[in-house]
Amino acid sequence: MMDEMMNNKMNEMMNKKKLNKKTIASIKAYLFLAPFLLVFSTMVIYPIGLGVKLSLYGQRGARMWYIGLQNFATVFRDSKFWESFRIPLFLLTVQVPLMLFIAVLIAFLYEKTEKRGGKFYRFIYYLPNTIPGIVTGIVWSYIFSDSMSPFRTVIDLLGYSGTKILTRQHLPSILLVIILWAFTGYTAFVIYSSLIAIPKAFSEQAQLDGATFWQIAFRIKLPLLRGVLISLFIFNAIGAIQVFNEPWMLGQLVVLPSNYTPAMYIYNSAFAQGRFTYAAAMGLILALITFLISLYVLRSATKQMLTGESH
């Protein structure tokens, strides 16, 4: 009996020691995470929580009163909010696929020119991503101005000397150009890093079988890039739905409605009209929509992967 009790006690102590090791490991982990967790909780979690709380109040100046979910009901009836999704939808269906397609092509070209000066092109195509939006905004406003644009002579030669460059009809296309210029190089670079991780054995095998570079690219390597392409699509989709910087900058040059994009409408409601609680409600709904779209994309993409493709 004594022996058993001694044994049990020994086991307990041993288990405690094991726990101690585990707890020490987790404590160490949390200590390393602590700075990030601190900043994350105060700068992200707390404001989101505050935003949720704010969205339940009506507001006028400094006065706030509880109105429950009434803000959300108003948002659902607010045609200005839903009309603002036109531009994000345009970007989502045109800009994102187009940019990914061009980026994939460029990434393959990077791989092809790896030994022959590809580095130079990787560098300069990445540069647009590093220039602050305000700076590019100023330069774009000159490029698209009617009196000083370098394209003016070309446009006039083509017979369009009467048309203005920067008009509200042309704006979506101009937005397309600006966003493509800014982010395609970066996207190509990300795809390229995944590309070079693909084992050379696959392409070598296919080469022996007589496949050309582009056949190898699209039949073998592209399917293997699925994962990174899906992630890139989701990130760019989120960026498209929440687009703000580029339209805002263009708003200095062309008259734009305050609800040109959802993010602009939210910003204007809060800071131009002082309706912070209404803006909070819209922000939450926008976040929900973004989340649902990302979820849908992820789900349908993974479904495709799981059901397998029969090539």
């Binding site: 009617d146 409605p257 912070f276």
Partner: protein, 435 residues
């Protein structure tokens, strides 16, 4: 006899200084520091002069440029606004209505206010008899014109609207590649100013009610006239404040700009290549028998509801915007050509003189004259950014050809403005007439 004259002189001097001292009461509180948000450049000179006279009040000035987003945030948060806040006249009613300011009638009563700033200014700094601040610079509409282009094409300076239109037609024939003047797409205060110049208004506030009537005869006439001019092709609608517009001013492809008087300083610093070629004039009058003028821009200084020491703040805003010592600094260092205060007249001779940028013309004299013609006023609606947005979009639609008649813009604009007022919870709106 000499003694009597001496005593009389002393009595008069004492009388004058006592009279002047009535404007600026003594500060009865403890030594304090007040904060101010303002984007006027070099305001520190006026502040230095002020602190000499009121050593117990120190002013801490912070410049965040145009800071309305910051103000909205601090207002909703319940704290964070400075004691003194600079707000443009067209945005002040919005902030008055949101409770951003506190009344300072105790230290600046209505009689003194009207004596120092004129009755028109009550529409920019007060609501329902509560005075919230003082006006600083005037945005009196002024006609800026290129003398060299006028001379080259044999044009005269138009004194009436009729002459203005004739001159524009003449210029268009003679120099079709140049512009007589561009009308702005957007810049709603400019369009409101056009109606103001004609002696009319679109909205107002009186006795707790907002009045909206865009279809009054003056407004309709103004918009119909502009419509005719656009149809004829004499004028074009263009975006202002973009690179193309800056370029045309610098290169000399625009002959006339009608803008607020502060534009004189803007030209000086941003169109240096056109030095010596510009002149200023009173804007052409609709009815020379009853001269009128409007304002575009200009800002007031208001005491906020977060201020813990409104007495010090009130004394400061009054001194800053009406005492000759401060007004001189505002002209010389802050580059403001004209102040609203009637006491600006006392320093007019000192600050006015030939201006090299304007070819030696004494612009301060002309601008002061233009300001004196601002003899009507109204309170702007508390939804200025929405008023601006709806007109800008309608003007863009007209420029794109989606609206056929220019005067059709008025009723559409009015409809949107009225529905926005309702949407923002204003139940005290009267439409169809003006007070």
């Amino acid at each position: 006899m000499k003694r009597l004259i001496l005593i009389a002189l002393v009595l008069i001097l004492v009388g004058i200084s006592a009279f002047a001292a009535d404007y600026y009461p003594k500060y009865s509180g403890k030594p304090t520091t007040i904060t101010m948000w303002a984007w006027t450049s070099n305001e520190n000179y006026s502040i230095e002069e002020f602190e000499k006279v009121y050593p117990n009040i120190k002013v801490k000035w912070e410049n965040f440029d145009v800071h309305y987003e910051k103000v909205q945030t601090a207002l909703s948060a319940g704290s964070g606004l400075p004691d003194v806040l600079m707000v443009e006249y067209s945005f002040a009613p919005q902030f008055m209505d949101l409770g951003a300011f506190q009344p300072i009638n105790k230290w600046l009563d209505e009689k003194t206010f009207i004596k120092l700033y004129g009755e028109a200014a009550m529409g920019w700094c007060a609501m329902d008899g509560e005075i919230y601040g003082t006006p600083q610079d005037s945005g009196a509409m002024t006609m800026f014109y290129r003398k060299d282009l006028f001379d080259q094409y044999g044009l005269i300076v138009p004194k009436t609207k009729k002459e203005f239109i004739e001159q524009a037609r003449k210029f268009k024939k003679a120099a079709p590649h140049l512009k007589y003047m561009a009308a702005p797409i957007g810049n709603t205060m400019w369009w409101i100013g056009q109606v103001w110049e004609a002696g009319g208004k679109l909205f107002d506030y009186s006795n707790g009610k907002w009045y909206i009537n865009f279809s009054n005869p003056v407004a309709v006439e103004v918009f119909e006239t502009w419509g005719q001019l656009f149809d004829e092709g004499v004028f074009d609608l263009e975006m202002w404040w973009n690179p193309d517009w800056f370029n045309s001013l610098n290169e000399g492809t625009t002959a006339v700009v009608i803008n607020g008087s502060w534009f004189a300083e803007w030209l000086r610093y941003n169109a240096p290549e056109s030095e010596g070629k510009w002149r200023v004039a009173i804007p052409p009058q609709w009815n020379p028998a009853k001269p009128n003028n409007g304002m575009l821009g200009g800002s007031g200084f208001y005491v906020t509801s977060h201020s813990k020491n409104p007495e010090a703040a009130a004394i400061f805003v009054n001194w800053l915007n009406s005492h000759p010592a401060s007004l001189k600094c505002l002209h010389n260092y802050s580059n403001l050509p004209i102040m609203v205060s009637s006491r600006y007249e006392e320093v007019l001779d000192e600050v006015a003189g030939p201006d090299a940028f304007f070819g030696g013309q004494n612009i301060v004299e002309t601008l002061w004259e233009a300001h004196q013609l601002v003899n009507t006023t109204f309170v702007v609606l508390p939804i200025m950014s929405n008023v601006d947005e709806s007109l800008s979009l309608l003007l863009q639609d007209y420029a794109d050809g989606k609206i056929k008649r220019f005067a059709d813009i008025l009723p559409r604009w009015e409809k949107e403005v009225i529905s926005t007022m309702k949407e923002f919870g204003y139940s005290n709106v009267i439409t169809g007439k003006l007070p």
